[in-house]
Symmetry: C2
């Protein structure tokens, strides 16, 4: 069934967002589903195959959320707030971004998966840059929209990681406040 595959991805994603890809084993993943590790290998021959699937579906899910924001008749500031809210939801679940976690583990990723990961951040950055670009006159910062998009993405990813260490949401809130203050 394709349902099993999706359940495996669900559990694996939650695990990676909590403890990272290195900490996820086919054995514990199988245990949580109620099958054997060899059966997991049927769905994902190698661990890198599972990683690829996780990155791609995370990106697709993220893209859907961005499209939903784009479809709204909101001003730039409100759209950006909705974008930040995606990260706040992740923080509420005591998780970090799947790709932010994998970024820390990128040394042990296959070249293919590193490219997928890079594409995820490029996509997010482009979406923000496009959003900022159409209303460039309402930006209170002396940097390019592309640069500001980079600051926002890396800032939010860093905030998620650091907030977990202290068990707070102060970094994410600080990022949110500053980012929104840069827009009129």
């Amino acid at each position: 069934m394709n349902d099993k595959r999706r359940r495996l991805e669900d559990v694996a994603q939650a695990s990676v967002q909590r403890a990272g890809l290195k900490s996820l084993s086919f054995r514990t993943l199988a245990d949580e589903i109620g099958i054997k590790s060899s059966s997991v290998h049927y769905h994902f021959p190698e661990k890198s195959d599972l990683a690829s699937a996780l990155i791609q579906r995370y990106q697709e899910d993220f893209r859907e959320q961005l499209d939903a924001i784009s479809a709204r008749r909101w001003n730039v500031k409100r759209k950006l707030a909705a974008f930040i809210a995606i990260f706040e939801q992740v923080a509420d679940g005591e998780r970090v971004c799947l790709c932010g976690m994998m970024a820390a583990e990128c040394e042990s990723l296959s070249p293919d998966n590193r490219r997928l990961l890079s594409g995820f951040f490029d996509d997010m950055e482009s979406w923000i840059a496009d959003l900022l670009c159409v209303n460039a006159d309402s930006i209170n910062a002396p940097v390019s929209t592309r640069q500001l998009a980079k600051v926002i993405v890396s800032g939010l990813e860093g905030a998620l990681l650091l907030d977990r260490v202290a068990g707070s949401k102060a970094n994410l809130k600080a990022q949110k406040d500053l980012i929104l203050s840069l827009l009129k």
Copy 2:
């Protein structure tokens, strides 16, 4: 000898800054020094002892660099640029911050080490906040100095992690440009 212990820490730190604590084994660490893994256990009984030592010495080293900046007769903006230069040096070495890496791995850290890690970021944040506080009138942002300090720390940490994925330094540069633009 105490020299061996320091050599072990040097190699271990480089390894963690490249691939993370999980990827570091006593065996490979021992191999690089030219001893056996059981000898590494003599210096650091458990892996968590090694982790503690790494965090503490990294924090002390960082603190020295901050003190050196504090001692200069520079304006706030130049001191902040010097602070950011510490991160640029890390990026130049194709590394990430030791504590930024461990922040991603915090789920598998002992409570003690999580506290040490939290203290590292608090320290850095306080240093920036103090720096900004004395010249609060030269800040172009409508957020508190404490919040701005959080934005700077999490932003730079996130930039180091994301830049490694694409193999660039664009995120760090964007963070630098924006941060410095917030000061008159």
